[in-house]
Amino acid sequence: MDHFPGTWGRPRNDVYGAYDPSYLQSTGPKTHTTSPAVTGTSVIGVKFNGGVVLATDNLASYGSLARFTDTKRLRIFGNKAVVGFGGDVSDMQYIDRLLESIDIRENYSSHGNMLNAKNLHTYLAKVFYKRRSEFNPLWNHVLVAGFDGEGKPFLSSADLLGTTFSAPHLATGFGAHLAVPILRRLFPEEKPTEEISQEEAVDALKQCLKVLFYRDARSLDKYSIAVITQEGIDLKEDEQLEGQSWAFAERIKGYGAQTV
């Protein structure tokens, strides 16, 4: 067994001779923008009757190091929409400034900023697609929450390739694997969004955040949550996970004080 994953799939030295490193390019295009550095993990969102709720934890990881623990990954755009960012944090800052400049320019017209969450999502997806087509992607997976042009709750995702996806509940990153099954169990397809109350949606997200904190090693127990209704946006950025129980962990091999 070869214990070095880095050599898996490579021609074996004992068969083919040592790899000739002169073939490695030392010049060429910049490639550091094609991988993230400081990252945020999952973003989760649920539509309910009359609005959308969005949540992320407050962690920005540097590789596996929990580097920044007060990161604000939910960003308000023009008092109308919230964008939740997963992925590279510096790219998030770039996009945040980009959206800020758009909001300022929109307000120059006499009727103010007319862009709703749906417009914003279309725009962001196009920005992502343009950048990946230039081989210089913005390394994010975002959820955009707010209202569409008809005033109906809107929730949609866009990723670093420009792919878009929409559903009544969504999660990015690890949450796509861990939170979506919970949300599907709580809010099955037969149950229309109109029958989901704000409290139910918020509780579901809190439950998901807890599971994510249990099982996602790049997550944190401090989180932000934004409730978007027609009345406005209620953003809380310094929340703490409650009611944790780590009893289940005792049975996990490799965790805690097991000797065998």
């Binding site: 007060d70 990161t71 604000k72 800052q93 770039y94 945040d96 120059y108």
Partner: protein, 292 residues
Amino acid sequence: MTSIGTGYDLSNSVFSPDGRNFQVEYAVKAVENGGTAIGIRCKDGVVLAVEKIITSKLLKPGANKRIATVDRHVGIVSAGLVPDGRHFVSRARDEASSWRGTYKGPIPTSALANRLGGYVQAYTLYSSVRPFGVTSIVGGWDSEAELAVDGQVGSGPKSGAGGKVEGAKAGGPGLYMIEPSGLYWGYYGAATGKGRQAAKAELEKLDLSSEKLSLLDGVKEAARIIYVAHEDSKDKEFELEMSWISSLDGPTKGRHEEVPKDILEEAEKAARRALDDDEEEEDKGAGEQMEE
């Protein structure tokens, strides 16, 4: 102007022997024909107002705004050639945006006035261009609270080194007026355009330098002053356009916005009433004199 017609006024950027730049002076003349524009620097905000002469009955009332927003916290109103004013505003927006690009925050009103002054002055230096045919009033509110850097993601450690002075006063209102020469000063109250003399006289009565006038009173005074300044061109109808920028805890939360319709209408009503009262008093005064 004795040296007019001596050839020194034919090209921009050329001095006359007695040290004048005629093209700039002619630009000032263009401003003096424009609708009156004023700005008042109050203790908790800034008001901008302009007298819009209605040049055609076919123009939609309330449309064709003359006060423009720059970034979120600055307003610009100008008297003179309207297209020159638009270009001026466009430049101001570019400057504000480039400031954000560099410093990741809103441009201070004083810095914006400085850059715009430099820009306007450059148009007095070359024979290939003409000076701006506008005098512009730039009003803004610099945030008194500590602002987050654009795109700021966290606030960092709560303890450790820091060089912050506790209780230092920051921000506040700013009001500047930029003339075609590029000259700009900061003002407590600024007026330009046709009715500037009357407007200035009224502004001086307000005792603005004591910084006691509130923004809401400033709005009423601004409306009244525009109405007073309009007295000399009474035959023409006009529309009053007003905007304001308040402190962060005021009605606009540090943003430049149009004065809401109800407040504007109330201010206009009060302005008309004040004018009528003045006239009555004058009539009375004249009557008494007759009796004597």
